[in-house]
Amino acid sequence: MLKITCPYCGPRDEIEFRCGGEAHITRPKEPGRLSDDAWADYVFMRSNPKGNHAERWLHVNGCRRWFNAIRDTVTHEFKAIYRVGDSPPADLIGPTRGTK
C-alpha cells in the first residue's frame, strides 16, 4: 500500500485516496467548435507513459481535496505533489496538455 502525502493533511495510507487519472487535461472552452476527433481526444485519449506521469489524486476519505502528483509508473514513487492550478515541476515531466 502506497504512502501518499496529501498537500493539505500530510502522509496517509493509499486507502484514503482515489486516483483520478491523468492531470492537466483542460476542458475545451468551446466544445461546439471542435471536430469529432479533437473532442474524442479530450474525452477518451490519455497518455500511458512508462516513468513519470502527472496524475490527479483525491483525498477522498480525508479532506476531500483534489491535488496533482508526479508518479513513476514503474516504481510507484511519488516524485512531486502539488496543488491544483500549480504547474508541474518542469524537470520531472515534459509538456502537459493544459495548465490546470
Binding site: M1, L2, K3, D13, E14, G20, T26, R27, E30, P31, G32, L34, D36, W39, A40, Y42, V43, F44, R56, L58, V60, R64, R65, W66, T75, H76, V84, G85, K100
Partner: protein
C-alpha cells in the same frame, strides 16, 4: 502405543520432558513433549509416512522441519476449529491434538488410489490438458468432480469458524524479519540506539538456525547468547519482539503484512486466534534465512528421505532420531554437519555420499577424522523401500553425466542436501531485483527498490560469524541513517572460524534408466508430483519460458509454492536447455509467503461489521408492520408489506392499486440529498445538468439529467430552488456519494473560479411521499395552514410549513404518475410524520407501499430508472428525453451527443414492450430477436449458437392497474419500430412481444396534474 517415543534421544533438545502431551494422528494415540512440533512428535514415535502424493498417491513422509515442508499437510482439528493443510512441521504440539492425513482413501497405510503409481507414465506434464478433451459440459459433470476426488488436499471446514480474529496496525523505524543470529543481532544493534524496532519471527522462540546448531558464541553455547541477546532487546524501551508471526507480504512504501498466531499452539480459544499486522516501517531488515534444496535422484520421495538440515533440527532441537541408520547425500558442506550431529547422538551413519570429488573444510574434515565413510564424487542414483526407505543405490559420478557401477547401502533414513536457497520471497515481493550467485548456486537479493537491507543467509552468508557481523553492521548503519546516535558501538560476538567448501551444482542425478526417463521417479516438486522427466518433456514440447514450465508442470504451485522445488526446477531447465541459470530467470514471488487464513484477512469485519447498514428513521415501523427489505447500496429499504398470508404478487398488486385508487405512503428517505449554495450555483447547475436552470424561480423544482463527458446519462433527480442562491438537489438512492464527488471534482479541478459549495444532507432530511387521488385531501388534513388547492400549490412547486406539527418542506412531485407530494422533515421527525400520515390517512384507506410497488408505478408511467434501465451507454436522446436537453447552453457531455456514434439511427432506444400473452412477465435481461432470426433463435434456445440480437428487456412487471404485463426494453432503432413484434428468448422459451410507447398509463398527465 502412548508413551512409546521409541525414537526419542535420551538427552538434549529444547523440549520439556516433564510435560507429556498426548495426541492422535489418523486415529492412533501417541505422546510427545511440550516443545515438540507435530512432526517431531510423530518422528519420535517412528512415524514417517504422513500422506500420499497429489497425483500418484505415492507414500510420502516428513521432509523438512519448517515452512518449506512439501508433504506433511494435515487435516487439523474438528468442527469449528477444523483447518485444512497446516504443516505438521509448523504445528506446535498441544494436549489432545487431533490430526489426519489429507488426500488418502481410505487410509494413508492402505491407499486404494495408489494403483495410479505404477501407471504414472501416463500422467505426464500437461496430462489434464491432453487427456480431458471433449465437450465443455463434460468438464463440469464428469472430469472435474473425478479429478477433485482423486487429487486435492485437505477438506474445507463445514462448520462456522469458532474463533475470532483481529487486525492491528503498527509503525516503526526498523522492522526486522527473522530472529535468527543475523536478525537478532540487527534488531539489537538498532534498538539500543533508541530506534523503534519490531522483530518478527514465524517460530515460537528466537534463534533460527542456531536452534539446530552446536556452534558456540562468545565461548559459550548458542542458547545462552540467544537468551542474553533477547533479554537485551526486551530491555530496550522502544523494541517489540513478536513471535509466531510470519511476515507474508511486502508491499509499496515499506508496508508489510504479517500473520500472528496467538492460540494455535494450545489448540485455540481463550483469545484472538490470528492477528493480521499491517506495519509501516521506515526501514526493513530482511533476515529471512535460507531453505535447503532436495537432491533430484530416482526415488527421492520415499518416506525417511529428508533434508539434511531438517535432520539436524530434529536431532538437536527436538532430540529425535529420524531412524537408526542414515545415509547422508550432498553436494555441499552443510550436510557434513548433519553427519556430525547424528554421530554425536549415537546414530549410525552408513556413509556421507558427496558429489564433490574433494570435499574439504572444517565440517568435512571433522567427518573424515571421526572415521565416517565418505564417498567423494559419488551420489545416490536410486532407492528402495515402499512406505519407508530401506536402502540406497550409490554410484560414482562420471565426467559425462552418467553413473558408474552402483552398489547398495542399507539405511532407514536419508539426509540429503542439494544446497541452500536464500528466502528471497519478501525481497522479491518488494520489487527488488534478484542476482544469481554462482558461489552458492542460488539467487540472492540484488538492487533494492525500497528502504531495506538484507542480512544473513538470505544474502548467502552461511557462516555464523558472517551472520552476526552482517546483522550488527546493518542494525547500526540503519539506525545511523535514521538519525539515531550509534557512537556506543555494539561488540560483535566471537565465534570459532570455519573453513567452508563450495557447493557444486548437481541439478539431477543420473539414473539407471538414463536421463530424464519417465520411469525414473526424480521428484522436483513433491507437492505437485512433478518429476525431472515432466520438466524435460515440457521443454521438448516447447514450453521454454520458466513461467510456462511452471504452469505446464505445476512446479511451484500448491500450498508450499515450491519452496524446496523452484531453484531445482530452474537448474534443470538450464541444464536441459544448456543455458546459464540467470538467462532462464525466475518465476514471480507473490504474497502470501505462507498461507494466510481467511479469518485473519477478514479480521473483526464479519457479520454485522462487514459493511455499515443504513436505516431510515421509519425502519422499525416498517419492520413491525411486516415489511420485507431489500438492499440498495448500504440502505435497507422496505420492499413490500405483505399482509397475513399474502403472496409477493398479491401484496404488490394491492399496494399499486392503493396508490392508483386511494392514497399510498412511501419512505423515500434514502434519496440522496445535496444542498448547493453560492452566487454561481445557477451557472454550476447549468454546466452539470443537461437542461437549463436560469429560469427556475425560488420555490419551484425541476427534473434534471446528468451526463458524463461522453454524453452518457449517469444520474437524474430533481433540484429545487429554495432561495436565490440555495438549491436542494436529490439524487438516486445508490448514487448520492458518487454525485457529490462529481460536483466537487468539477468545482475543484475545472471551475475553481465558480463560487459554489456543496453539503451532503441525505441524513438530515427524512422523506415521506404520499401519492394517489386522495393525496391532496390527506395533506390538507395534515397541514391545515397550507393552501393545497391546485392553483395555490401546483405541480413542481415547493412549499414550507408545518405538517403534522413538524416544520417541513413539501415538494409536489411525482414518480408514480399520481397526484403526489414529497414531505421533507428533519431526520429525527421522520417516524412522527410517518405515524401521523398513517393515522390521518386511515379514512382514505391509506396503504404503505415499498420499493417494488414504486418500481411498477413508475414503469406504468414510463419513467426510466437510471442505473436500472441504463448501463452507461445510453444518452438522454436514447431515453426519449430530448426535452430535457438544452440547445442553448453548453453542459458536460453535450458535444458528445453529436458525435457520429451517438447520432447513429440504430442506437438502442428505450421503448415499451408488451407480451402477446398478457400473463407472461419476461425476466429482465432477456434478449430480443427479430422475426427474421426467429428460426435461428428457436435453435439457439436449445443450444449455444449466436443469433443477432435486437436489444434486451431492462424492466419488467405485472401491472395490476392495466391487467397485463409491461416492460421496458432497449431496442436498436426502437423509436421507429413501434408496433413491430420482437421475440424475447430465455430459458428455452420464445415469447412474442410488441414494441409500444413506454408510457402505459395516463399519457396526458391528468392524474399527476390533478
Amino acid at each position: 502405543m502412548i508413551g512409546d517415543q521409541a525414537y526419542r534421544l535420551p538427552a538434549g533438545g529444547l523440549i520439556d520432558r516433564d510435560r507429556v502431551l498426548s495426541f492422535t494422528f489418523n486415529g492412533h494415540g501417541y505422546a510427545g513433549f511440550a516443545g515438540d512440533t507435530l512432526a517431531s512428535a510423530l518422528l519420535a514415535n517412528g512415524v514417517h509416512l504422513v500422506g500420499r502424493s497429489l497425483k500418484y498417491h505415492r507414500p510420502r513422509g516428513i521432509v523438512a522441519a519448517g515452512v518449506e515442508e512439501p508433504n506433511a499437510l494435515m487435516q487439523l482439528g474438528e468442527g469449528g476449529r477444523a483447518e485444512p493443510n497446516p504443516l505438521a512441521t509448523m504445528i506446535e504440539l498441544y494436549d489432545d491434538l487431533v490430526a489426519r492425513s489429507v488426500n488418502v482413501w481410505p487410509s494413508v497405510d492402505n491407499d486404494l488410489m495408489s494403483w495410479l503409481a505404477p501407471i504414472s507414465r501416463l500422467f505426464s506434464a500437461g496430462f489434464y490438458y491432453k487427456t480431458f478433451m471433449g465437450p465443455p459440459p463434460a468438464w463440469q459433470s464428469i472430469y472435474e468432480p473425478a479429478i477433485r476426488k482423486a487429487a486435492g488436499f485437505g477438506k474445507a471446514p463445514e462448520n462456522p469458524d469458532a474463533d475470532v480474529y483481529d487486525h492491528t496496525f503498527a509503525h516503526c523505524d526498523v522492522l526486522v524479519v527473522g530472529a535468527g543470529p543475523a536478525g537478532l543481532m540487527a534488531a539489537l544493534a538498532a534498538a539500543r540506539t533508541g530506534a523503534r524496532v519490531i522483530l518478527m519471527d514465524e517460530r515460537d522462540r528466537p534463534g533460527g538456525s542456531l536452534l539446530a546448531s552446536d556452534e558456540g558464541i562468545d565461548g559459550g553455547p548458542a542458547d545462552r547468547w540467544i537468551d542474553e541477546a533477547s533479554a537485551a532487546l526486551q530491555a530496550c524501551a522502544e523494541a517489540r519482539v513478536v513471535m509466531r508471526t510470519t511476515a507474508f507480504g511486502y508491499y509499496d512504501s515499506n508496508f508489510i503484512a504479517a500473520l500472528e498466531r496467538r492460540s494455535d499452539h494450545f489448540g485455540g480459544g481463550k483469545t484472538v486466534r490470528h492477528r493480521l499486522w499491517q506495519v509501516r516501517a521506515r526501514h526493513v531488515v530482511l533476515a529471512t534465512g535460507a531453505h535447503e534444496r532436495p537432491l533430484v535422484f530416482d526415488g527421492n520421495d520415499r518416506p525417511g528421505i529428508m533434508l539434511a538440515g531438517a535432520v539436524s533440527t530434529y536431532v538437536r532441537r527436538y532430540a529425535v532420531a529420524p531412524g537408526r541408520r542414515a545415509v547422508v547425500v550432498t553436494n555441499n558442506d552443510s550436510a557434513h554437519g548433519t553427519a556430525l550431529a547424528l554421530s554425536d547422538a549415537g546414530i549410525d551413519v552408513a556413509a556421507v555420499v558427496d558429489a564433490r570429488r574433494n570435499p574439504v573444510g572444517t565440517l568435512a574434515d571433522a567427518v573424515a577424522s571421526r572415521g565416517i565413510q565418505v564417498l567423494a564424487g559419488h551420489t545416490v542414483i536410486g532407492t528402495s523401500g515402499n512406505k519407508r526407505v530401506t536402502g540406497v543405490s550409490v554410484a560414482e559420478l562420471m565426467g559425462d553425466g552418467t553413473a558408474g557401477k552402483p552398489h547398495s547401502l542399507t539405511c532407514d533414513f536419508v539426509a540429503m542436501s542439494g544446497g541452500w536457497s536464500p528466502v528471497v520471497h519478501l525481497f522479491s515481493q518488494s520489487q527488488g531485483r534478484l542476482t544469481y550467485d554462482d558461489q552458492i548456486c542460488a539467487f540472492i537479493p540484488g538492487e533494492s527498490s525500497q528502504a531495506q537491507s538484507c542480512v544473513g543467509a538470505v544474502v548467502g552468508h552461511f557462516s555464523l560469524g558472517e551472520c552476526l557481523r552482517g546483522g550488527a553492521e546493518a542494525g547500526a548503519r540503519v539506525a545511523r541513517e535514521l538519525g539515531f546516535d550509534t557512537s556506543d558501538e555494539l561488540a560483535t560476538p566471537t565465534t570459532v572460524p570455519q573453513i567452508q567448501g563450495a557447493v557444486e551444482p548437481l541439478w539431477s542425478a543420473p539414473t539407471e534408466r538414463g536421463r530424464y526417463d519417465r520411469r525414473a521417479k526424480q521428484f522436483v516438486d513433491f507437492q505437485n508430483d512433478t518429476t525431472a522427466a515432466d520438466i524435460s518433456l515440457a521443454l521438448q514440447e516447447g514450453f521454454e519460458s520458466i513461467e510456462h514450465v511452471k504452469r505446464y508442470t505445476l512446479t511451484g504451485f500448491g500450498t508450499d509454492q515450491g519452496k524446496t522445488a523452484n531453484i531445482n526446477a530452474l537448474g534443470l531447465v538450464a541444464e536441459v536447455l544448456g543455458r546459464p541459470i540467470p538467462e532462464v530467470g525466475t518465476t514471480t514471488f507473490r504474497p502470501p509467503y505462507t498461507p494466510v487464513t481467511f479469518g485473519a484477512l477478514a479480521g473483526p469485519y464479519v457479520g454485522n461489521l462487514l459493511d455499515p447498514v443504513r436505516e431510515t428513521p421509519m425502519h422499525d415501523w416498517h419492520a413491525a408492520h411486516g415489511a420485507l427489505f431489500e438492499n440498495v447500496g448500504q440502505w435497507r429499504r422496505a420492499w413490500y408489506y405483505p399482509r397475513d398470508g399474502e403472496s409477493f404478487q398479491a401484496a404488490l398488486d394491492r399496494e399499486c392499486l392503493a396508490v392508483r385508487n386511494a392514497v399510498g405512503v412511501f419512505d423515500a428517505s434514502t434519496l440522496g440529498k445535496i444542498e448547493i449554495g453560492g452566487p454561481d450555483s445557477v451557472e454550476f447547475l447549468n454546466r452539470i445538468y443537461t437542461n437549463g436552470w436560469s429560469t427556475l424561480k425560488v420555490g419551484r423544482a425541476r427534473y434534471g439529467l446528468m451526463c458524463h463527458e461522453d454524453g452518457m446519462v449517469f444520474d437524474d433527480g430533481t433540484t429545487t430552488r429554495i432561495a436565490e442562491y440555495r438549491f436542494f438537489m436529490t439524487t438516486t438512492s445508490g448514487n448520492a456519494a458518487v454525485v457529490l464527488d462529481w460536483l466537487e471534482e468539477w468545482s475543484q479541478t475545472e471551475w475553481p473560479e465558480l463560487q459554489v459549495y456543496f453539503t451532503s444532507v441525505t441524513e438530515q432530511w427524512a422523506t415521506v411521499t404520499i401519492a394517489g387521488p386522495h393525496a391532496r385531501d390527506l395533506l390538507a388534513v395534515l397541514a391545515p395552514d397550507l393552501a393545497v388547492d391546485r392553483e395555490s400549490f401546483p405541480f413542481m412547486a415547493m412549499r414550507e410549513g408545518r405538517v403534522a406539527g413538524v416544520e417541513a418542506r413539501i415538494i409536489r412531485i411525482s414518480f408514480s404518475g399520481e397526484l403526489s407530494y414529497e414531505i421533507y422533515v428533519p431526520w429525527w421527525s421522520g417516524l412522527v410524520l410517518w405515524e401521523n400520515v398513517m393515522e390521518a390517512g386511515a379514512r382514505f384507506s391509506i396503504a404503505p407501499y415499498g420499493t417494488e410497488a414504486m418500481h411498477v408505478l413508475r414503469a406504468e408511467k414510463g419513467y426510466a430508472v437510471i442505473g436500472h434501465d441504463t448501463d452507461g451507454t445510453v444518452t438522454p436522446h436514447d431515453l426519449g428525453m430530448s426535452w430535457a436537453v438544452s440547445k442553448k447552453k453548453d453542459f458536460i457531455g453535450r458535444r458528445s451527443l453529436t458525435r457520429s456514434d451517438t447520432a447513429r439511427a440504430d442506437r438502442k432506444h428505450l421503448v415499451g414492450l408488451v407480451t402477446k400473452d398478457p400473463a407472461i412477465v419476461v425476466p429482465e435481461g432477456a434478449q430480443l430477436v427479430s422475426e427474421m432470426n426467429l428460426v435461428a433463435a428457436r435453435r439457439a434456445a436449445r443450444g449455444s449458437h449466436p443469433v443477432p440480437m435486437e436489444g434486451y428487456v431492462s424492466s419488467s412487471y405485472h401491472s395490476a392497474a392495466l391487467g397485463h404485463s409491461i416492460a421496458f426494453a432497449l431496442v436498436k432503432g426502437g423509436f421507429d419500430r413501434i408496433g413491430e413484434t420482437l421475440y424475447a428468448v430465455y430459458d428455452g422459451r420464445v415469447v412474442p412481444s410488441e414494441i409500444v410507447s413506454p408510457v402505459f398509463y395516463d399519457a396526458e398527465n391528468e392524474r399527476r396534474d390533478a
